[in-house]
């Protein structure tokens, strides 16, 4: 395998303005925006792991704790994500149930799993299909943010449904944890430098 890489050509890309320049020519800063230049994202694997582990930890309360309580006529039950999906499914709204299930349950799990797999593959310097792995990473990055749909919905409902005795919506501790999961996985994905996949391939 003999691919041409920026690294081989001693080229560096600015993280901020994406200007590509020859390494060392700038004297430590981007020629265009003045940002500090790194050949690879610094400490990428370690930071991504830390954020991912934190996300995994938050994933438990996010699913075990109620994310939302709808109180109507003084009567209301706190719902976790799974029970909410169950309610929607029982109510016959299975498309919405499926959507919520995908966005809120499956998406974070998949994202965490994929990120963990990618991080592990880089850490243990696997050279297996670097291109596909890069594609998976891109997809994960794009879809991961949709998990926030739950949090958006809850925050909108809380703000809108303030009808006192008739109906009130309250956020539960699960919502906070869930938001933390989504944000942490997003940061984790941001910290991950997909170029490392190719570095391993290059070594081979």
């Amino acid at each position: 395998m003999n691919r041409m890489t920026a690294r081989k050509m001693s080229l560096d890309a600015c993280h901020v303005c994406d200007l590509v320049m020859e390494g060392g020519s700038s004297g430590g800063g981007c020629l265009r925006c003045g940002s500090r230049l790194h050949r690879r994202k610094p400490d990428s694997i370690s930071r991504a792991w830390a954020l991912l582990i934190a996300a995994v930890i938050f994933y438990l309360p996010a699913n075990l704790y109620p994310i939302m309580t709808v109180i109507s006529f003084g009567k209301g039950e706190p719902d976790t994500i799974i029970s909410g999906v169950g309610h929607l499914f029982d109510a016959g709204q299975w498309p919405i149930a499926a959507l919520v299930f995908f966005a809120s349950v499956l998406a974070p799990v998949l994202k965490i799993t994929i990120l963990a797999f990618l991080l592990a593959s880089v850490q243990f310097k696997w050279s297996w299909r670097p291109k596909e792995r890069t594609v998976i990473f891109r997809i994960t990055e794009i879809f991961g943010r949709w998990s926030m749909i739950d949090i958006f919905m809850i925050s909108i409902l809380i703000a809108l449904v303030k009808l006192d005795a008739v109906a009130t919506v309250e956020a539960g501790p699960g919502a906070t944890a869930f938001a933390a999961v989504v944000i942490l996985t997003m940061f984790s994905a941001m910290c991950f430098d997909p170029r490392l996949i190719w570095d391993n391939a290059e070594i081979e």
Binding site: I53, F58, G74, E77, A180
Partner: protein
């Protein structure tokens, strides 16, 4: 290049040391996660089973357990008991509920309830049923509960006091029936039960604070249920405590005015529940001593509850009337069990009434009265209804007959009643006649006759009679002689006297001449007297007439 590589390597090493700051994040996340796990676990109390008859209104995971409307737990699961005797709920309680789970705690399902008292638990129509937890004071920790079938009337920590009423029958009382004091509702009936020996009903009541201090040991409770109409000599009387009591019954109480009562009754004190206010008057007396009386005559009209009177004052009540038949002697008698209330009798010279008397002293007193003639008899109390009462009085002359053989109750001897008395007297007369010594009388009579006979046939008597005969003859002769000698002269004298009398009669008779002459002479004399009077009057007015004569010249 090589130098560059070294530089890069150096930088990498330095960065590995700096990695620790990023790893703070998962540590913080782990701490938060641990706290999130620990927090509910620390609040998690025990899981308790609750036994119920049915799981009506109970929803797994939703039905709450509440204490004073504060959530302290939730029903986790509902399962039917294996023996089908109800269901078992598993409830997970919060930590704060733990001290309230004791053996004095009561739990029950709150559902909408409609009763004569009103509607309760309406809120559960919207919110669904919940399980009320009502911890009592004290008690040892307990982890399994049986829910009450009906909610208790009064919650455990309500200030007030619980008492027990003993009644012969429940009447129309229900759980929650009101307790009245002077017409104000001050308490409720908590529940009722048969006593252990099934002889009475014990009713648990609760008097709310501060009115529980109105209950003293001598307080009288009576059943104020419904309407009571009574007709008496003073007209018709209609009594009713309240409309509510008409529907759900009620109990009223009152404390008679007495001296020296300071302490309200203790929790759980027992009282008698009287059937009516009137009954209380009869039952003012706490001491009742049984006595038995045996009556031979009919007791028709003698009912249980009839008064026992002494000189017209009620001193007791008839408790039982039975017929006792002796198979061997074929004699029946009627034992009447009465209860004497010594408190109704004031002993002279003592402030306290009968209460100071024990049963033995009481028996002694009555027995000494019996020795002095205390007897009981049946008396018609009401001519209209023919109701009998037991009248006790002093009958010093009456004989003292004890007929009771069993010594279970002391006996008061009886005497027959008025009608019985008449019968009794007749019987007595007959029995007296029966008891007369007829044989002896006859014997005496015979002896007398024999004696007479002896006298009559005495020779001396015969001799005397013969002598008497001679005497009679002599006497006869004497009389004849007198008759012969004296008779002619006497006859003559009588004849002459007769004539003389006849002449006198003729002389004075109305048609006799003598009498006529006398009358004529008297008339003449009267006329003469009149003439003389006229002359005298004329002379008085005309004295000269003496000289000139009457109507003479002088006038002319």
């Amino acid at each position: 290049m090589g130098l560059k590589e070294e530089q890069v390597a150096e930088v990498v090493i330095a960065k590995i040391r700096g990695m620790s700051s990023v790893w703070l994040l998962p540590i913080v996340a782990a701490l938060i996660g641990l706290w999130l796990i620990y927090d509910p676990l620390s609040k998690q109390g025990p899981t308790i089973p609750i036994t119920l008859m049915t799981a009506e209104g109970i929803v797994e995971g939703k039905t709450k357990l509440k204490l004073k409307n504060v959530e302290i737990g939730v029903v986790e699961s509902v399962a039917v008991k294996e023996d089908l005797q109800g269901v078992v709920l598993t409830a997970s309680m919060s930590k704060q509920a733990e001290p309230f789970l004791t053996d004095t705690t009561r739990v029950w399902v709150v559902l909408p309830r409609l009763s004569a008292k009103g509607v309760s638990g309406l809120g559960t129509l919207v919110s669904g049923a919940f399980i009320e937890v009502d911890p009592g004071p004290g008690g040892a920790a307990k982890r399994d509960f049986a829910a009450l079938e009906t909610p208790p009337v009064v919650k455990a920590n309500t200030p007030g006091r619980e008492f027990v009423l003993k009644a012969k029958r429940l009447g129309s009382l229900l759980n929650g029936s009101p307790i009245y004091f002077r017409g104000i509702m001050v308490g409720e009936v908590l529940g009722y039960d048969l006593s252990e020996d099934r002889s009475e009903v014990s009713i648990r009541i609760f008097i709310h604070a501060p009115n529980h201090l109105l209950v003293f040991d001598n307080t009288r409770f009576w059943n104020a249920s419904g309407v009571r109409i009574s007709a008496g000599a003073d007209g018709m009387k209609l009594e009713m405590e309240s409309l509510q009591s008409l529907v759900v019954g009620g109990v009223a109480f009152e404390t008679p005015q007495t001296l020296g009562l300071a302490e309200p009754s203790k929790e759980g004190a027992a009282f008698i529940l009287y059937q009516s206010e009137d009954e209380i008057q009869e039952a003012q007396y706490t001491r009742r001593f049984p006595w038995i009386m045996y009556f031979d005559g009919s007791v028709r009209g003698l009912a249980v509850g009839a008064p026992v009177e002494f000189k017209g004052l009620k001193v007791g009540v008839v408790k039982e009337v039975r017929l006792e038949f002796n198979r061997e002697t074929l004699v029946s008698r009627i034992p009447v069990l009465v209860e004497i209330t010594p408190e109704s009798i004031t002993v002279a010279g003592r402030d306290q009434m009968g209460p100071s008397l024990g049963y033995d002293q009481h028996k002694e007193a009555i027995n000494s009265l019996i020795d002095h003639g205390l007897r009981a008899r049946l008396k018609t109390g009401n001519l209209l209804t023919g109701k009998l009462l037991v009248d006790m009085g002093m009958h010093p002359g009456a004989e003292k007959v004890f007929r009771g053989k069993d010594g279970r109750y002391p006996e008061i001897p009886t005497i027959p009643s008025s009608i019985d008395e008449i019968y009794g007297n007749l019987t007595a007369v007959l029995s007296k006649i029966e008891r007369l010594p007829l044989n002896e009388l006859a014997k005496g009579l015979v002896e007398t006759v024999e004696g007479l006979n002896r006298i009559v046939n005495n020779p001396k008597l015969i001799h005397a009679v013969e002598t008497l005969d001679e005497t009679m003859v002599t006497l006869n002769r004497l009389v004849a002689k007198v008759d012969k000698d004296m008779s002619p002269a006497a006859t003559q004298t009588l004849k002459e006297a007769h004539l003389a009398l006849k002449a006198v009669r003729e002389a004075v008779s109305s048609d006799s001449a003598l009498r006529y002459d006398a009358e004529t002479m008297l008339q003449e004399l009267a006329a003469a007297a009149r003439s003389i009077r006229l002359l005298a009057e004329y002379l008085e007015s005309n004295p000269n007439a003496l000289i000139y004569g009457k109507g003479g010249r002088g006038e002319r």
